[in-house]
Symmetry: C2
Subunit: 209 residues, 2 copies
């Protein structure tokens, strides 16, 4: 019925994709869960040179996996991140939360003199303790998280900090990596984004590739 020749089997597409990634990418700096996370992030962006910019703290993979297994909520800075997380992969029907559209956010943003993305984190406070935080879009959200921790906010179990862009992205990820209060995963430089961030969560949530 169709004339074009292409692979139509989703599982086979995944298998071949992951095989190409492992053949081409230099994954020597990563093992176990961390390797799986980096492979899936590469899968999400199509770039096998990503590993050179990826940095995880030694405790990140265990902390993030354990948090998900015990049912920690996943706090996302952007709806695209939340939407990219495959619910059926989550080990404990974890809540996936994005507060950006909460009606209190515009007022909070004015009050804090910050972006809506940063202000939305103020509504995370009661879920922050032991949570998995995922920043896949806004550098201001990642900076504000660090400011909240400075001010005594509860500590998340781990932070995926992969905002993308030209203003503050590289600096906010550098700040997270140097902070050392929480286990972290970053992609240094300008690259990042919601797809990579969601991919990292999907890899942490479930070993199935």
């Amino acid at each position: 019925m169709t004339s074009r020749a292409y692979i139509r089997d989703g599982a086979e597409i995944y298998r071949r994709s992951f095989s190409i990634i492992r053949a081409e990418a230099d994954l020597s700096g990563f093992s176990g869960t961390a390797e799986r996370v980096v492979v899936r992030m590469i899968h999400a962006c199509g770039m096998t040179d990503l590993p050179k910019d990826v940095e995880l703290s030694p405790d990140f993979a265990d902390a993030a996996e354990a948090a998900l297994k015990r049912g920690a909520p996943i706090l996302c800075d952007a709806k695209m991140v939340a939407n990219g997380i495959t619910r059926t992969r989550l080990p404990a029907e974890n809540d996936v939360i994005c507060t950006l559209d909460d009606q209190r956010v515009p007022d909070l943003a004015r009050q804090h003199g910050n972006t809506r993305s940063a202000a939305a984190l103020e509504l995370w406070r009661e879920r922050l303790d032991g949570a998995l935080v995922v920043v896949g879009n806004a550098p201001t959200a990642l900076f504000h998280l660090l400011d909240m921790l400075d001010a005594g906010a509860p500590k998340p179990a781990a932070v995926i900090g992969i905002p993308v862009g030209f203003i503050g992205a590289a600096e906010s990820k550098e700040a997270l990596a140097q902070d050392r209060r929480v286990p972290y995963l970053v992609v240094h430089g300008r690259r990042g984004g919601s797809a990579m961030a969601a991919a990292a969560v999907n890899a942490l949530a479930n070993p199935v590739e």
Copy 2:
């Protein structure tokens, strides 16, 4: 109240980001709406070398802008694409449609022997005529769109074809660019994704940066 120095004004962040992009990226191959689209795609991915892989048909920008202005629906292959489209930028409260979660899709996928992403396009048929199609995730969706056109499906006004990845992504975008039946925008190679695809729509929808 906070100790870190970073830009907290969203409008200023946009201004400076777009200014850096225009200073660094080689945009000589693009003008008018097309230039605006490419700049916003770069903004979404953080990579100023993107233009070398971007190809638009000469009729793409006008066709896509006109379609949006006359209220054409925006048909998206992935929820992340749909979610990345800023509704307030749309000129005619255009419907943003993603049929991937429709309960008929798993059966259609079995029936067509294809991925769910491709099968979901079968549910676009009655909205396809004159629509803006946005494929930001699945190469199989873009291939299947071309197969549907071969089989006589109504023609969309324009197609944004930016699937990402290692299996079929480059080939499906090449096939769209060589097809010539519909105005197109592609990013050649493996790069692409929902953020870039949504950014292209957001630029086409509204000239405000």
